[in-house]
Subunit: 318 residues, 2 copies
Amino acid sequence: MANIRDIAKMAGVSVTTVSRVINDHPYVSEDKRKAVIDVMRKVDYQVNRNAVSLSQGKSHLIGVVVPFVKHPYFGLLIEGIAKQAVENHYHFVLIQTNYEKEREQEALDMLKHKQIDGLIICSHMIELATIEAYQQYGKIVVSENAAGNKSIDSVFVDHYQSFMDALAYLKQKGYKRIGYCIGRESGSNSYFRHLAYKNFLTQYPQKEFVFTENYYFEDGQKVMDEISELTEKPDALLVTSDVVAAGILTACKNAHMKVPEDMAIIGFDNQPIAKMMDITTFEIPIATMGERLFQHVLGKAINRHEELSVNLIERGTV
Amino acid sequence: MANIRDIAKMAGVSVTTVSRVINDHPYVSEDKRKAVIDVMRKVDYQVNRNAVSLSQGKSHLIGVVVPFVKHPYFGLLIEGIAKQAVENHYHFVLIQTNYEKEREQEALDMLKHKQIDGLIICSHMIELATIEAYQQYGKIVVSENAAGNKSIDSVFVDHYQSFMDALAYLKQKGYKRIGYCIGRESGSNSYFRHLAYKNFLTQYPQKEFVFTENYYFEDGQKVMDEISELTEKPDALLVTSDVVAAGILTACKNAHMKVPEDMAIIGFDNQPIAKMMDITTFEIPIATMGERLFQHVLGKAINRHEELSVNLIERGTV
């Protein structure tokens, strides 16, 4: 295979000129550029992109950290990220962590070793302060409220306020024993949601109903099984994922329970399944969030922290 | 920042030795290796991974081409791929194509430009013969029956046979107007499924019922809307995705149709939703397929073409 010296010789230019053409450097005359490209085409010269990356200090790759790929929430987030990656001529390395710190550390190390130009962290177990230290190697963006943090960009929705709004809505509709279902207990978003629930219970005392580790449709049955064993049962549930809400609704129907009479359900996200199953939900612009995260990681955002708004969509489950 | 010459000087070794330590070359004494690593730690020396990749001719990245990330089938496939990536200390670049040839071409170009070491193509629009030509730049694996093809590895299930088995099963159960629902019409897997259906209809003549462009739960309603406008309606449906089957089942229930009396449904995949909604389905080992695809792309498979088996799981919808 022809190397850069052969190309230079065949095109009648210097090695430096060939290098400049490969790296799209401005100081090359059009004649010389054309001569080099013609020779490269003739010999089917393969640019080693790693060499180009090295010379430019850029990989044109962005790392994307998600706990699970197959969850519809992260699926939609990746959808938005993928859209912006295409528009900006970037690709992304997907790092599925299953919430293992070791996997998250690998992503941070890829940034440190310049294998990726920036990092989008959709959810994490490693402390934000630890992550912050890696900001020196490239831009890092998180999808949680990191306002007040000077070096890390964030794109988020106000989970505290939307939970408060949902609880107030159920209260106003007459429900008295409100519970909530969530994925993991830890993490910033879960923290704010639990805080809202705690503050609501201080204002309107009732028994606490919290169901954790619910991610998928089939977890809805698990929640209803847990509820069936309680002597005092909730009469309304806030469910942080529409697919879990759909699973709960299906489990209720299978058990001949009436929704919303026996059990009110509010979902989150406004996934298509919520529309089809007529589930009241808080719409979160997930794909838009993915797009904004990508724009932030490329340094194309004006603000460091960006809050997206959430809307209640009233349907038949409350 | 210290460069490789500074490190060599501080450690009292040659530049070549430092380079060998970085690249994990065997011909370095333990003493020298330790001295270099100590100095590197002291000055917090950052290895530029692009430089290492260049010197080794490897990026330790595998490209993964999928049409959609948010579809549960591809979600599970990526799950299996991610598992093997972790075990083999690789990462993967996810290329979502939306079935656009331009996106698939980008993935092939990444292989050509050595940005990735290999490529897993889960579904594609570009002709297999075109893809084959890129095999010279690195290993390519597809998840469709490419047996007979000498250069491209494949991991697949026999869609022709499983469709034939499903049709025979419905026939034997007494159904007389059998239709099928699928995603896209083109592609190798769709081709074999349609061929099975055609051959079945030649053997047992009936009206043809084919519903295309069905990917998600909400598409189930669309299928039932289309059926409601037919004068002659199918009494059984083969549905190539469990989530669509679940959507059809829900739409049937909403329309007060009895399943399987008014409409029999067979899904494919055996996703958790099929178990929860008691849907008869053909189990495809999708996550295993993802794992095997990754082992093939790393050249760790014994066979070039590998067929995984499919099992009928009898539940309540037939």
